[in-house]
Amino acid sequence: MNSRMSTKNLLQVVVLALLALTVLVVPYLGNTYLIKIVINMCILIGLAASWNLVGGLAGQLSFGHAAFFGMGAYVLAIASDHQIPYPVAFLLGGAGAVVLSCVAYPTFRTSGTYFAIITIAFLESARLLAVNMEWVTHGNSGYIIMDSFRSNDLFPYYLIALIAALILFLTWLIIHSRFGLRLRALNQDQNAAQDLGVPVQRYKMLSLAISAFFCGVLGAYYAKYIGFIDPESVFSIRWSFDMIMMSIIGGLGTFFGPIIGAIVLTIMSEIFRLTFPSLSLLAYGALMMAMIVFWPSGIVGLFERLSSKFQNQKE
């Protein structure tokens, strides 16, 4: 048992070290394409890690998280029109997403199918409001962000690496805290958790609010980095699908799952984009089906199974 824990820990340290090394080395290669990919990957890692708190840990399969991302992006766009410094605007973006998550609170009265549908409806409503509230959002014509990051600068690169690292650190704390343990408990058996005194609704809400805050900050960063947003791009359900997909590829509810999932998804989508761009979405759907049927516990789960098999053989 002990030695198995240490192999697992070793692997985790190796993954984190490789990730950190990649992030530190890439700027020195002077390849702007690689830098863009890593920035994108950091955004995805952050999103997957935050979605995982609600979808993986607490087991509430939300399709609405893109709404928090979009909210953050729009808050930043509006804030930058009012010359609010962007660090403040990032936090405001997170706060906006938290407010939105409070609106989403009643969705927790449902579960299963209803929850999936109501979160999609929530996201689509947010998108429709962004399209229709033209006096705030400029509607379908989109929003140009004042003084967005210059892409040939390395500053946004280090900034998103820092943000992603912070989010990872915080989610690590949450997963290994009492709070995380109780979320896991209510995922496995909500009634039992309730009987044991876990305030189920409050915990679900709290996990949603934290997760929404991270998504909002990432949305704000995305807007500042890309420089132009419209409802179609930031309120797209593709963001939600990506978050779910990465968590599943890596392993639902685990700390390392979303990280590994984001790395795998980034590499795969780049390969497809370069070779068969018209087939990339097709492969995405096929992979989604294959993963959930054959590897429902993801790469982390697979590794755990393999290492325990290996352990048994040794004994």
């Binding site: 449902t110 209803y114 409806a121 399209v131 229709n132 087939l279 097709l282 759907g285 959930i292």
Partner: protein, 287 residues
Amino acid sequence: MITFLQGIVTGISMGAIYVTVSLGLTLILGVMNFKNFAHGEMVTVGAYTSFLLFFYLSISPFISLFLVVPILFLFGVFLQKLIVKPVMNRSFTTQLVLTFGLSIFIQSLLSFLFTSDLKGVPTQIPIASISLGGIAISTIKLINIAFAIALVAALALFLKKGRMGQFMVAVSENRQGAELVGINVNRVDQFAFGLGTALAGVAGAMLILTQAISPFVGFYFLLKAFIVLVLGGMGSIVGAIFGGFLLGIVESLTGLYLTANLIDLVGFIMLVVVLIFKPTGLFGKKL
């Protein structure tokens, strides 16, 4: 007043399509307790079938309304064997993610094969409308309404009198019990999934008569079908009929008196309100 009635009629004709899609979804849900989140894509496949039959074989899209039924039925049976059956005993998360993956797969396959441009079929019957006491109704809308009503009647009759229909009702009431008395539950599942898919496909063939479609049109119909089921209560046929027409009419009146941009939002608001205040739906009854 005339405008109001006109709005109601337009709503009923859209509602006819919603009813047909939702009946398919509720059938699969009731018999198999399987949540098919790719159901919207069956609408798209039905619409594309009608388009392709016209484009390559010059078959009138009105005849395709009938041809789509067997084609989509077989497609449904194929999907049930290949994808649904292996995950019938798996967790809800698995079924959900699997069918969403299927939905993305079908969307991207269609846009890969036929591009994502809008596709339409010419309808030879003059768009010229029939006038009923001052209300103008286009012939196509009337055909859609009549066709949906005929489908509902046929389905109700089939569930009551047909052998397979009675089996389906039995399985929806008690799966184990049905198995014990010797009903081949897997065959019933196949049939139910095929029939549900065929209903969605017919809705697609009806849809392409009234508007041009893209590979992504199905996703909204999935949401609409679930809204209808939530309004009517999951697994209830009467509820699906009621909910479908209600949603169609409310949307149409919203477009008429408020703004066309908010049509889809109204459905979501209804969904949220019903789910929060009366989660069993307005007709919370079994199939």
